[in-house]
């Protein structure tokens, strides 16, 4: 593209060919007003506000859609242009409900700004007002549409369809009757999931949050921070007034570029719930009593000290948290290791991605997403397996949908449930639960037998391929069909698509990891990616989506029993020596216990004292009945949280923590990006940030800790953690840095293993198929699987305190196929009993073809119908991750 000469307002300019007049004007600093134009969506050219005069043309040209041509003479503010803008603005105002005085959008309304800029007051209005005060659709729990304020710019329709990939709303009717709507239904019974992309992009008050901010837009302060829900790490602008969060907008920067999900935008009201913990509580005679921080800390010191003195440091364990900051995780494990003297520190990553860390570290040398979120948009084939991305990582799902819609990627979904992404997929393979190694070996069998593998890549960059070639020989598509029930032809088709695409990416989540063969499954994904030469290049790779906001960081910072920060091995004497030197204490050379082992050891009495920071194992752990007993048998239990959770209720001491809103620090999102958390509210009562609590506890344990702020903690992290060597708060004020980032000048790493794997050569691991620990039988004939849903989060301690989210889903349920519903005499919406060898729950039937006949899915967020009373705590031998995704169960009517 070369430049061409044009004149704008008399001045000659040289502008890149292919630019629009609007782009040209912007480039040379001439402001042309726009209304329907928005950089995030396709240009509609509808409002005609940006019209300009082009010499020799009969009509005015809309600057936003008109490309420049050589020697074009453009006038952006001639009398004819100004007259046109005024008349068109008058038309829009005549059709608009100008209730600006009581409109939440006042001050940020683009129509209001335009009227102001053009000086259109009520005396100079050209036309009678025509606005129809048609009914507002406020049926959605979170947003509302007021047609009388709509200017038909259609940004929202495009945002819903093109950015979010949903197409819930469309332009209805024609001419003056034109409206935005869902057509068949109002918003509430449509598939609208309340992400609010449309609200954020609406230039007026037509689409707005259902509940008024209660303050004017100019009275708020906007503070950017990171979302506290899932691992996407959306950047959010928090609108704050008088120590109250009044509105949330997605920040228009990486990784979410303005998008959020319903939880990110509307799910933060839990922060000022009345039942936030506001003061330390000590349980005396079975009752919690309020206490001061000083007496509480010394009480803990006394109790923990006693256990350590009597039973040694390994009788104490700590559960760190994927919910708190990097700095807090670092301090927590440092406290456990240096102050208490044990490696018994773990966190819920054990229950989600322990097998990823084990498997990918073995295959590649690093156990994280190899590539970045944004790269997914340009993958030519995306294989999504064991991830209901739309519900668990909503913003990433929008990127996958865009890869398909906008860039022609082929999407292959391999999942036992008919998840939303199936609607966007080229191919859906419905495997029997727990047969993942088999289908992946099947894919590899086809690729090798059809000679579609990347020989050059295999020979230059990997080792031990022969062993895999040998083991997959048996896994012919027909044999795989028998194990997995996926038709052989689909195995072949998927293999061909995956192997022949220019670049293929594998995206997975808990459906792969939460099995007794979790590590094997992960190794299989690595084998498949290496076989086709897809690791170490843009838009390819193996991409485990991390579930929690900071599960990546909690792992990175050593909240694991076998590694120090930065995955430096406890078992490696050099690492031990390094940290002994850095921390000034002798450290234990023995690997500590994992989550499930800690729970088991509580029951056996090997572990007596447990400190839990921000976790809720009473809902999240497998085989809850067992976990409950174990927690009850603890001699001394400390829980630090923002609410009195099911777990906190069992505690001897409860410490009130500041929430993410009330502290500073960093999270590391699923793409290894270290992102900043900013304080935007004051903590309630006596609640203080976890890092301060840890400092006090550690000091009371005889290992003084003191930091001025989290930035100082990060400096210490950088000094001992090579992959975080260049991470400083000062460097991530705007956008985060992706590790590895070894020094202060390193720009961070977008994708891993370029040119060479972290471990040198990529290592193939032959993996054979092993069936799940528990299979359906006559007594327990159904396959039970558990997982997350969009509207709630993890154990629900945050999301279930958000009334809007409860309006979407208020309690637990079990997805059962309509055929089974009929066969068992159940009723959609009626009660049902689900039981396994470990426990039983009563919940509500949701009759849906999402699940296969003979399968049941239960979301695990709901303590009163806790899925984890049913789940199996059989472990993967390598990663110690429990098999949360497969259990045999009974489904029965409740009389």
């Amino acid at each position: 593209m070369h430049n061409i000469s044009i004149r704008i307002n008399g001045q000659p300019h040289s502008i890149r060919e292919g630019s629009t007049i609007l782009e040209a004007c912007t480039e040379v600093g001439i402001e042309v007003p726009t209304l329907c134009h928005h950089p995030k969506v396709n240009i509609s050219g509808n409002c005609r506000i940006c019209v300009v005069e082009v010499e020799g043309w009969n009509t005015l040209a809309p600057a936003c859609v008109t490309p420049i041509i050589p020697n074009m003479i453009v006038r952006t503010h001639s009398p004819r242009v100004i007259e046109s803008r005024k008349v068109v603005a008058n038309l829009l105002l005549a059709a608009h409900n100008c209730d600006c005085m009581v409109c939440d959008t006042a001050g940020i309304c683009e129509l209001q700004d335009l009227a102001y800029d053009l000086g259109i007051d009520s005396r100079s209005r050209l036309f009678d007002n025509f606005e129809s005060l048609e009914k507002v659709d406020d049926s959605s729990p979170v947003l509302k549409y007021d047609p009388s304020k709509c200017i038909m710019c259609t940004r929202c329709v495009k945002a819903c369809r093109d950015i979010q990939g949903k197409g819930i709303i469309a332009v209805l009717n024609r001419g003056a009757d034109m409206r935005v709507g869902t057509g068949v239904n109002l918003l509430d019974i449509s598939d609208c999931d309340g992400c609010g992309e449309c609200v954020q992009i609406c230039p007026t008050g037509a689409l707005s949050a259902k509940f008024s901010m209660g303050v004017r837009s100019w009275e708020v302060e906007k503070i950017r921070t990171s979302c506290s829900y899932c691992g996407v790490g959306c950047q959010l602008d928090m609108w704050v007034h008088d120590n109250k969060l009044v509105k949330v907008e997605g920040s228009d920067i990486i990784p979410n570029y303005g998008s959020t999900c319903v939880k990110g935008r509307y799910g933060h009201t839990f922060i000022d719930s009345d039942d936030r913990l506001k003061t330390p509580l000590i349980k005396r005679n079975g009752e919690f009593t309020e206490a001061t921080w000083a007496e509480t800390i010394s009480y803990i010191a006394e109790k923990i000290g006693k256990i350590r003195d009597e039973h040694g440091p390994d009788a104490i364990a700590g559960l760190s948290s994927a919910r708190v900051t990097n700095e807090e995780n670092y301090l927590f494990q440092k406290m456990m290791r240096a102050a208490v003297g044990t490696n018994n520190v773990d966190h819920c990553a054990r229950l989600c991605h322990a097998s990823t860390v084990a498997g990918l570290a073995a295959a590649f040398g690093s156990g994280a997403m190899t590539n970045s979120i944004a790269e997914l948009e340009y993958a030519k084939c995306i294989l999504v397996t064991g991830s209901n991305t739309t519900e668990t990582h909503p913003v990433i799902a929008t990127i996958i949908k865009r890869a398909v819609r906008e860039h022609g990627a082929k999407l292959i979904v391999v999942d036992p449930r008919r998840i939303d992404l199936v609607d966007h997929a080229t191919l859906w393979l419905r495997q029997k639960n727990g047969t993942d190694v088999a289908w992946m070996n099947g894919l590899m069998n086809v690729i090798i037998s059809e000679n579609l593998q990347d020989e050059e890549y295999i020979s230059e960059r990997t080792e031990d391929f022969e062993a895999v070639r040998k083991i997959v020989e048996r896994f012919t598509p027909e044999m795989v069909e028998e194990i997995t029930t996926i038709p052989a032809e689909k195995i072949r088709e998927a293999a061909r698509i995956f192997a022949t695409a220019e670049v293929s990416s594998i995206v997975y989540s808990m459906g792969i990891t939460q099995h007794i063969t979790g590590t094997d499954n992960v190794l299989s994904t690595a084998n498949l990616a290496m076989l086709t030469g897809n690791v170490g290049k843009p838009s390819g790779g193996v991409n485990p989506l991390r579930g929690q906001n900071n599960v990546q960081g909690a792992c990175d910072l050593g909240a694991l029993p076998n590694v120090y920060p930065g995955y430096q091995k406890v078992a490696d004497p050099a690492s031990q020596e390094k940290f002994e030197k850095a921390w000034g204490r002798k450290l234990s050379p023995d690997n500590g216990l994992t989550v499930v082992e800690i729970i088991n050891s509580l029951e056996s009495g090997k572990v007596k004292g447990l400190i839990i920071m921000g976790e809720n194992p009473m809902v999240s752990d497998p085989n809850l009945n067992h976990a409950e007993k174990a927690l009850e048998s603890a001699e001394f239990l400390v829980v630090c949280d923002i609410f009195l959770t099911e777990t906190a209720e069992k505690a001897d001491v409860v410490l009130p923590a500041a929430s993410f809103a009330e502290k500073e620090g960093t999270f590391t999102n699923t793409e290894r990006r270290v992102i900043l958390l900013r304080k935007f509210l004051d903590a309630p009562g006596k609640a203080i940030p976890d890092w301060k609590i840890i400092c006090d506890l550690s000091t009371s344990f005889g290992y003084p800790m003191s930091y001025a702020n989290p930035a100082e903690i990060m400096d210490e992290i950088a000094s001992v953690t090579p992959i975080y060597g260049g991470i400083r708060h000062s460097r991530i004020q705007e956008i985060g840095l992706q590790w590895p980032c070894p020094d202060d000048t390193h720009p961070g790493t977008v994708y891993l293993h370029e040119g060479v794997f972290k471990r040198g050569k990529g290592k193939f691991h032959p993996v054979d198929f092993i069936p799940p620990a528990e299979n359906p039988d006559e007594e327990y004939p159904f396959i039970l699987s558990t997982g997350r849903i969009l509207f709630h989060y993890h154990t629900g301690s945050m999301s279930r305190r958000v009334s809007a989210l409860n309006e979407y889903v208020s309690g637990g349920y079990a997805e059962i196929h309509p055929t089974d519903v009929d066969r068992l005499g159940l009723v959609d919406g009626g009660p049902v009993s689900i039981s396994t060898r470990r426990g039983q729950i009563e919940t509500t039937v949701r009759s849906t073809e999402m699940v296969a006949i003979g399968s049941v899915f239960v979301p695990f967020h709901f303590a009163e119908a806790a899925a984890n009373r049913l789940t199996n705590d059989a472990l993967d031998p390598k990663a110690k991750i429990p098999e949360l995704k497969v259990a045999a169960c009974q489904v029965a009517r409740i009389q």
């Binding site: 004819r80 038309l91 050209l126 038909m152 003056a176």
Partner: protein, 401 residues
């Protein structure tokens, strides 16, 4: 006076033009059409040869030839006559177009108001197939062509070529931003020519008669003949074929217009003139000859006519661009105020005249740009502001009768 070519009693055999075209190179066919000077017979008047040349030059394996049979301009029915009697000529013209630009796919987009014409078109297609003039490897020239009939569903805007394409693609008929033009990116983003029924029907005659012959049919700078549908206060309403560039009064005489107050040329979006102007010519340079001519005698209240047309535009505006969606509604409002007497001077209409001019220069497509014509013409030419305020509440000063 009438000059019948398309409607001639004695016509060359259907297919003869196509057979002749097949003996030429596609480029030569384009040149003949170009040199004939024929302009789009739908009303917009874009030179057909240039359109075909651009589409022919566009590189693509797949291209489309679309016949715009969405004749919706009020007062227009000439294409109905052609479709009824000359569908074979139409398909022949489309096939020539396909041969010229390198397309094997023809689509006739027929308005939903003409479903009863489908059998005639289908029969024409069948005849063409039977005679080996449609299908694969036609006349052994390695050229394939066939046509498909698709229907609209009651939307005037789909006569706009990009709205028509949107409709064919399964969308609401919202005109596209241009560029790109259909010749480069039309139906399914492939190079596409969209021509009116009458244009396609003329093409075989041009091929057979030669470009000079065709050009000479017209008067002055105008090429060829043109079909006019005439209705309203005339004795013999119907379709007449005249040399393009003929004076309007010739047509009025043929149709037997006696008492003339006003004549609307080019339909609701055309111009409305007084009886004193009937010497003007029906040509792209004077009175744009869309195809419709409606005559109003002295008994007609032209404000009622205007109201009828503005209702039409409010109903038919697609609504996507602000000036047309809101502007047609405001003009309708003005007409109602005129009728009720709430507006009774040209001055008090000032903001509506401003609006009309802005709609003309800022609307996205021809609908909004020309919807103002009847408003401006009828008010300027036929509304006599005598100061008679019917409501007695209007803002302007009252004059004495």
């Amino acid at each position: 006076m009438e000059k019948k070519v398309l409607l001639a009693e004695d016509q060359p055999e259907f297919g003869a033009g196509f057979e002749l075209a097949l003996t030429m190179s596609p480029a030569d066919v384009v040149y003949i059409v170009r040199d004939s000077g024929i302009k789009g017979r739908g009303g917009a008047g874009f030179p057909t040869g240039i359109k075909w040349n651009l589409a022919g030059a566009a590189s693509s394996d797949v291209k489309y030839v679309i016949c715009n049979a969405d004749e919706g301009e009020p007062g227009t029915f000439k294409d109905r006559i052609l479709l009824e009697k000359y569908s074979e000529r139409l398909i022949e013209g489309m096939a020539i177009g396909g041969y010229a630009i390198g397309s094997s796919h023809g689509i006739i987009y027929l308005r939903a108001e003409y479903p009863y014409l489908i059998p005639a078109i289908e029969e024409a297609r069948k005849n063409m197939i039977d005679r080996g003039l449609l299908g694969k490897n036609i006349r052994g020239k390695g050229f394939d062509f066939d046509v498909e009939i698709r229907t609209g569903s009651g939307a005037y805007i789909c006569g706009e070529e990009t709205a028509l394409i949107e409709s064919l693609e399964g969308r609401s008929g919202f005109p596209r931003n241009k560029p790109p033009f259909p010749v480069n990116s039309g139906y399914l983003n492939k190079p596409t020519i969209v021509n009116n029924v009458e244009t396609f029907c003329a093409v075989p005659h041009i091929i057979l008669g030669g470009s000079e012959w065709y050009a000479d049919l017209g008067i002055g700078d105008c090429s060829g003949t043109k079909l006019f549908s005439i209705s309203g206060d005339v004795e013999k309403p119907g379709v007449y074929e005249l040399p393009l560039g003929a004076p309007l009064k010739d047509l009025l005489e043929l149709a037997g217009a006696k008492d003339i107050q006003a004549v609307q040329v080019g339909g609701a979006s055309g111009r409305t003139i007084r009886a004193t102007e009937i010497h003007r010519s029906l040509s792209y340079d004077d009175l744009p000859p869309g195809g419709s001519v409606i005559v109003f005698d002295s008994t007609v209240n032209m404000l009622d006519v205007l109201e009828n047309f503005m209702e039409f535009f409010v109903h038919e505006s697609c609504g996507q661009c602000a000036p047309c969606r809101e502007g047609t509604l405001q003009l309708m409002n003005a007409v109602e105020d005129l009728i009720s007497g709430d507006i009774c001077s040209e001055e008090s209409l000032n903001s509506y005249f401003r609006l009309a001019e802005v709609m003309r220069i800022t609307s996205k497509c021809g609908l909004g740009q020309t919807a103002v014509n009847c408003f401006v013409d009828i008010i300027n030419n036929f509304v006599d502001f005598t100061g008679e305020c019917v409501s007695g509440e209007c803002c302007c000063e009252r004059g004495d009768q």
